[in-house]
């Protein structure tokens, strides 16, 4: 289904207009301007939920125009079941990024808001681009605003973190550029992603391209051992930057695997399946172990991201429908949950100016509402049934189980460790005794902060309890990805299992009571 209205161009470039306007107005109006542009952008993307046709794997809302004539680079945008959830997640999260920065950012607010909006355009562009060069332009265009977000408004060690982030990602993605050009000459002189996906390439070329793609995407995800930029960047970035990094930027890497590596390089994908799965499992367990050892809340969440993103790459490379649907679900869920966690950390940092766990203990007493929200996000993060993360992780583990029982067993270790580091964190942060130095600053959430967190909490439960609307929208696209005729390599595909997760109602009820009880316990 194609509509004549250019939905995608509108959604992608609306924030860019806002970014320019933000630079031209006064401080106070910059905040409101950024907020209204992000909200309007979200509202513009909302109709897609109903307009989206979940019965086809074809690209929808396609727009095509010639951009560069020689070589033929097109301005072409489109949406399918894999990019669709990511678009909605991005537009949904951006208003919260603006709101959480309302008072936390004190200097050069116009520039800050402008950079946030530029980021939004670039990130949305990455998810909808149907031309490889266009994709690359968006992919790289977010480097500079993100560099500034970390470097100008970040923490004490921000300069190091910013340049590390920049160079890691740039080095990876420049290799991607060469791979894109090589594909152009081998794939019939086109940059069209769909046409390139239909082509077949020799095994040795696929190997090289796989490695180049891997350099770009694995750094972004980040997969072990390319993850070292992530804790630095996460910790030093301002809250909105951390949210963007964790919720959207990391997904660009896994999206790259799904959109490019799997369809274009099926043989190499199969060849590299084992190493990729091993790396994913290492990331899951290593990330979780590192999280256990952290004393800085942000760093703990950063390492938990490494672990959770390990589940995503694991789901992708087991190459079956449960795994990949679980991976896409996990991408969205990690965005919501980790975004929520970082928002929570940002809120408490504004009060105590410390991210150290020991400086932020016993918050349930003075800040009961805050502790409730934190608890919900934390429980979602450890994958409690009834919350959104459970759905994704369950599907990924189910998919992994089909691939190898041993791998599933190792991956499941990550879930157990997640419970350990999250519950230990919560025990200290929510239920310890408040440190006297900060007692006076511990005011509970104000209306703006509550408004920032409530929608995400609602989503945690809505997706956790009713995952089907989202799953049906991605199902056909994922099935198409696996069933592409030229990929007999993916024949490991077992009988399709209906992608419906029965969530025991008892579990949901138990959770709701549990979390409120714990939060209320003083």
């Amino acid at each position: 289904m194609t509509t004549s209205f250019p939905w995608l161009s509108l959604i992608v470039f609306l924030p860019l207009i806002g970014a320019v306007l933000c630079l031209l107005v006064k401080v106070e109006s910059a905040r409101w301007l950024a907020l209204s542009f992000t909200v309007v952008d979200f509202l513009c993307s909302l109709p897609l939920w109903w307009l989206f046709d979940s019965s086809t794997a074809e690209m929808q809302f396609v727009e095509r125009a010639s951009w560069i004539t020689s070589p033929p680079v097109q301005y072409s945008l489109g949406l399918d079941g894999i990019s669709f959830p990511l678009i909605l997640m991005t537009t949904l999260l951006m208003p919260f990024c603006v709101m959480v920065s309302w008072t936390a950012i004190e200097k050069r607010i116009q520039l800050f808001m402008s950079m946030l909006l530029v980021m939004e355009t670039a990130m949305l562009g990455v998810f909808v681009a149907l031309d490889f060069v266009l994709f690359y332009v968006f992919w790289e265009a977010m480097l500079i605003p993100m560099y500034l977000l970390i470097g100008v408004w970040g923490g004490a060690n921000r300069l190091y973190a910013a340049i590390k982030f920049f160079l890691y990602t740039l080095a990876g993605s420049l290799l991607l550029l060469v791979a894109i050009i090589a594909l152009y000459f081998q794939g019939g002189h086109t940059f069209d992603i769909l046409a390139l996906s239909r082509g077949t390439y020799s095994a040795s070329l696929q190997m090289w391209l796989f490695l180049a793609f891997f350099a770009a995407f694995a750094v972004k995800v980040p997969m072990f051992p390319f993850h070292t930029w992530l804790p630095d960047a996460h910790v030093e970035a301002p809250t909105a930057g951390s949210v963007i990094l964790a919720s959207v930027l990391l997904k660009m890497g896994t999206y790259g695997f799904l959109r490019f590596t799997l369809p274009m390089l099926p043989d190499a994908t199969v060849t590299f399946t084992k190493p990729m799965i091993v790396l994913s499992i290492v990331a899951i367990i290593y990330g979780a172990y590192m999280a256990l050892a952290q004393t800085d809340i942000k760093k703990l969440i950063a390492y938990s991201s490494v672990s959770h993103m390990g589940f995503v790459t694991l789901g992708i490379f087991v190459l079956n429908i449960q795994g990949i649907e679980g991976a896409v679900m996990q991408m969205v869920n990690h965005g919501i949950t980790t975004g929520g966690l970082f928002l929570c950390v940002g809120i408490i940092y504004e009060r105590t100016h410390s991210r150290h766990i020991l400086d932020n203990t016993g918050l349930a007493g003075p800040m009961p509402r805050y502790a409730l929200f934190l608890m919900i996000f934390a429980l979602s993060s450890l994958g409690l049934p009834g919350t959104n993360s459970f759905v994704g992780e369950f599907l990924v583990l189910a998919g992994t189980f089909l691939w190898s029982k041993v791998a599933a067993a190792f991956a499941a270790l990550g879930v157990i460790l997640a419970a350990a580091y999250i519950l230990w964190l919560m025990q200290r942060v929510a239920f310890g005794t408040p440190s006297p130095a900060h007692r006076a600053h511990l005011l509970d959430l104000n209306a703006r902060e509550t408004a920032t967190l409530v929608p995400l909490v609602v989503l945690v439960f809505v997706i956790g309890i009713f995952p089907n609307p989202l799953l049906t929208r991605m199902h056909v696209s994922v099935a198409h990805l696996l069933a592409a005729p030229k990929t007999p390599a993916f024949a490991i595909e077992p009988r399709p299992v209906p992608p419906v997760i029965p969530v025991p109602p008892a579990a949901v009820a138990a959770l709701t009571t549990l979390s409120s009880e714990q939060a209320n316990a003083r």
Binding site: I68, T69, S70, P71, R108, L111, V133, Y136, V137, E140, A141, L143, I144, Y147, L148, G151, V152, R158, L159, A162, I163, F166, L167, L170, A171, L174, L175, L177, V178, I181, A182, Y184, F185
Partner: protein, 491 residues
């Protein structure tokens, strides 16, 4: 003897430039010191006339002066680019000379003489014409580099440039004489024919090839013939540095490609290997040494060396592919240099006009906190630096994109990979400036800080450079089709 009208008409743009230069030299002593700006406007008027004249010469191919001069689309491409960058340099100089209190009228005369030399370089069809053009350009630039007579660095730059430049000219001339011995003529088509008939095995030919490569290597400032560049770029008045880094480099590339493609195209496989080595060391040294610079003019000097390395990739690929129709090596060089001109000129314009206490503040430290003091200037610098680093959606990305396309198409993906690694390294030193501007505060709070000395002329220059960098990044179609039409064909 009657004057050959046809020939004179062909070189009308050159005549306009030279006669304006002479007019300026005459007017300079007559004009009162306060009216010297008039000379700059006169220069601009001459450039506008030339722009019109050359635009009408874009199509067609016409030899003049007994085949010494060739007016064709290739030469016109470079000339049009040269007019634009010279015009911008003149506007920049208008502001810069005032700030430096260098109220010298001859300055504009020298710029025009250098431009005349460059025009002859890119339209010469004979090695001697090209040599004459090179000398005219170089001699004017030697003088211009030393215009800050009170500054020892400027004088050193001038002397150093002169000595090394003279050496390179000698080497160039030696190569030319060997080729003359080989072909019996210095005309490029005759040399090409001689190579085709005599074969490529002659050791004299190889020697001549190497000597010409060395001679042009100096003008292009590629490693290992780059030694003069950092000192001269740092010492010379910044407007002159901008002119050298942009116009002189463009003209040198123009003449260099003309000689090696139209004259020595028969041995393209040989010079391709030679330039592969030069290209690799240029990329490596330019990018690595730029990292440790503390002076922004020196850093930009090394950056310009590195950029010549990227452009050379296109040359290497073209040579390797020989006369293949699908080769985009040469057009990508033309495109790259044109894009490079805008971003480098923009960066130097800002560097020249960021001043404290009447002095140019060209230490990278002086840029600390610039984003706070001068948000707009810092933003412009950001765009130029991002473009130099080759990050989309700026023009610098488009330039690299076409170069890499040509490399992969020519079966040299490995060279593209090497270039890509150095591009990532280059991002480090460009971003360091961004970091200093946006994320650092000046160390000594008491001392005065550098500020941008604005003027309408400077604003215009910056706006043009920014428009070039942004618009060419978003809409490269026009420039690319110009470049493909203008690029010479290897036979």
């Amino acid at each position: 003897m009657t004057l050959p009208v046809q020939d004179l008409l062909a070189i009308l743009p050159e005549l306009v430039v030279i006669s304006t230069a002479c007019l300026i030299l005459v007017l300079d002593p007559i004009l009162a010191a306060s009216k010297k700006d008039l000379l700059a406007w006169l220069t601009l008027a001459a450039l506008a006339v030339c722009l019109g004249l050359t635009s009408s010469q874009v199509t067609g191919r016409q030899y003049a002066f007994s085949n010494m001069i060739l007016i064709d689309s290739y030469g016109s491409f470079w000339k049009l680019l040269l007019y634009i960058v010279t015009g911008l340099t003149v506007l920049l100089s208008l502001a810069y000379l005032k700030a430096e209190r260098l109220n010298i009228g001859e300055y504009y005369g020298f710029i025009l003489l250098a431009l005349a030399g460059m025009m002859v370089m890119v339209s010469g069809a004979d090695l001697l014409t090209i040599y004459l053009g090179t000398e005219l350009m170089s001699l004017s630039l030697y003088v211009m580099a030393g215009l800050k007579r009170a500054d020892a660095r400027s004088l050193e730059a001038s002397a150093k440039y002169f000595v090394l430049g003279a050496f390179s000219s000698g080497i160039l001339l030696y190569g030319i004489s060997l080729l003359f011995g080989l072909a019996g003529s210095t005309r490029l088509p005759v040399i090409a024919e001689a190579i085709a008939t005599q074969g490529t095995g002659n050791p004299i030919l190889s020697l001549a090839l190497v000597l010409l490569a060395v001679g042009f290597g100096f003008k292009l400032a590629v490693v290992p013939f780059h030694m003069w560049t950092p000192d001269v770029y740092q010492g010379a008045p910044t407007s002159v540095t901008a002119f050298m880094a942009v116009a002189s480099k463009a003209a040198s590339f123009g003449a260099f490609l003309r000689v090696f493609v139209e004259g020595l195209g028969g041995v393209s496989a040989d010079w391709s290997i030679l330039f592969t080595v030069v290209c690799l060391v240029t990329l490596a040294l330019g990018n690595l040494v730029a990292i440790v610079q503390t002076n922004i003019k020196r850093m930009l000097a090394y950056s310009s060396i590195a950029h010549a390395g990227y452009a050379l990739i296109g040359v290497v690929v073209a040579g390797r592919q020989g006369g293949m129709a699908a080769s985009t090596g040469l057009p990508s060089v033309l495109l790259y240099i044109a894009i490079y001109s805008f971003m480098t000129l923009g960066a130097f314009a800002l560097v020249g006009m960021l001043r404290k206490e009447g002095q140019e503040s060209d230490n990278i430290e002086d840029y600390a906190g610039l984003a706070k003091r001068e948000p707009l200037a810092a933003f412009f610098m950001l765009v130029f630096l991002v473009s130099l680093a080759g990050i989309p959606p700026t023009a610098g990305f488009i330039g690299k994109f076409y170069i890499f396309m040509a490399a992969v198409n020519g079966g040299m993906a490995w060279l593209a990979v090497v270039a890509v690694i150095f591009a990532a390294i280059s991002a480090f030193y460009y971003l360091r400036i961004v970091m200093v501007m946006y994320m650092r505060e000046p160390d000594n709070a008491a001392a005065s800080h550098s500020r941008l000395e604005t003027s309408p002329a400077l604003s215009f220059v910056l706006a043009c450079a920014l428009a070039g960098v942004v618009l060419l990044g978003l809409f490269p179609n026009g420039l690319w089709s110009l470049a493909t039409h203008a690029a010479p064909l290897l036979k």
